[in-house]
């Protein structure tokens, strides 16, 4: 009985996870053009809410997030491309507003240190095993 209950809870949890977040976009914000709306949603998912800081503006209910969602939609309507919109925002709020940090000289360590650590780790395991086999 208890097992079944636990199983049901796990299943419900997984269903909830798979549904994902529907975002905080309010109905009055939607663009009529579906393709444009999808682009706006996609950009919003990659822009950090500066108020909450660990949420995208697509997920956030803060007034600033709403302003930025509307701003992104207005820029799309005016024919700006995605890169121009990302640049507009990072020019004002810095790279911090991009949830995915850009690859540039100052972020090289951020992007490649994990691989270097992995390499070093594999190297030491390799040597250790070799030494162990020699015994």
């Amino acid at each position: 009985m208890l097992k079944e209950k636990i199983l049901i809870i796990i299943i419900l949890f997984l269903i909830q996870l798979s549904l994902g977040s529907s975002g905080s976009v309010e109905p009055d914000e939607f663009l009529e053009n579906n393709e444009q709306e999808l682009r706006a949603r996609n950009i919003s998912k990659h822009i950090r809410c500066m108020v909450c800081q660990n949420q995208s503006i697509d997920d956030s209910d803060s007034p600033l997030a709403k302003d930025l969602r509307v701003l992104i939609r207005n820029k799309i309507k005016k024919g700006k491309n995605d890169d121009e919109i990302y640049k507009f925002l990072s020019d004002r709020y810095g790279d911090f507003i991009l949830l995915k940090p850009p690859l540039k000289f100052s972020t090289l360590a951020l992007w490649f240190l994990p691989f270097i650590f992995l390499g070093v780790g594999v190297f030491f395991i390799f040597i250790h095993n070799k030494k162990f086999n020699n015994f």
């Binding site: 500066m50 108020v51 800081q53 007034p63 600033l64 302003d67 930025l68 701003l71 990072s90 020019d91 004002r92 709020y93 810095g94 790279d95 911090f96 070093v120 780790g121 030491f124 040597i127 250790h128 030494k131």
Partner: protein
């Protein structure tokens, strides 16, 4: 030799721990993000003036002077807390204090200033928060220091306290 080599990962790990520990104990606010606009020219804008019956044109207001720009609103409690320090800044020689009234009710704002005193030489109305976005503002109150060439030299997020008042005052003297 080999045993020596094996100590390297542990030393590495210890160094990383020390770095993390250091970042934990030093006095810093990780949620305060440095402005991307530091050392850049201010964005031009036009809006209505809250104090005068005319337009607020940034080109006319920001010229040849050291300027303190303060984003505020009557609905923002910390803005009220820092108001006393903004008033102190308005008495500093050679410093112009400009306000930007963020998403506020103009009538309430005028009443608020009458009650608490008006430290601003002019105030731009930012009804929809567009000026704020252009300035990279994310949490009012925010305060900027602009040098006489119209370049942003400093940005402070949150209310000005005694401590930040002293720091900003020193900075203004340096810039002047």
């Amino acid at each position: 030799m080999r045993n020596y080599l094996f100590k390297i990962p542990f030393i590495f790990f210890a160094i990383i721990l020390l770095i993390f520990f250091y970042l934990l104990i030093i006095e810093r606010n990780p949620s305060e993000i440095p402005s991307a606009l530091l050392n850049k020219k201010i964005q031009k804008f036009e809006s209505h003036s809250l104090l005068y019956d005319k337009k607020f044109v940034s080109d006319e207001e920001f010229a040849d002077e050291v300027i303190l720009v303060n984003f505020f609103a009557t609905w923002c409690k910390p803005c009220r807390d820092e108001h006393v320090f903004i008033k102190k800044f308005s008495n500093v020689d050679g410093l112009k204090v400009i306000g930007i009234n963020y998403k506020d009710n103009s009538k309430k704002a005028i009443k608020w200033l009458k009650k608490l005193g008006n430290p601003y030489s002019n105030i731009a109305i930012d009804a929809k928060g567009k000026i704020a976005i252009d300035w990279g503002v994310y949490g009012i109150p925010e305060t900027f220091i602009i040098n006489s060439e119209g370049i942003i030299k400093y940005r402070h997020v949150g209310p000005i306290t005694k401590k930040t008042y002293k720091r900003i005052s020193l900075l203004i003297e340096e810039i002047k």
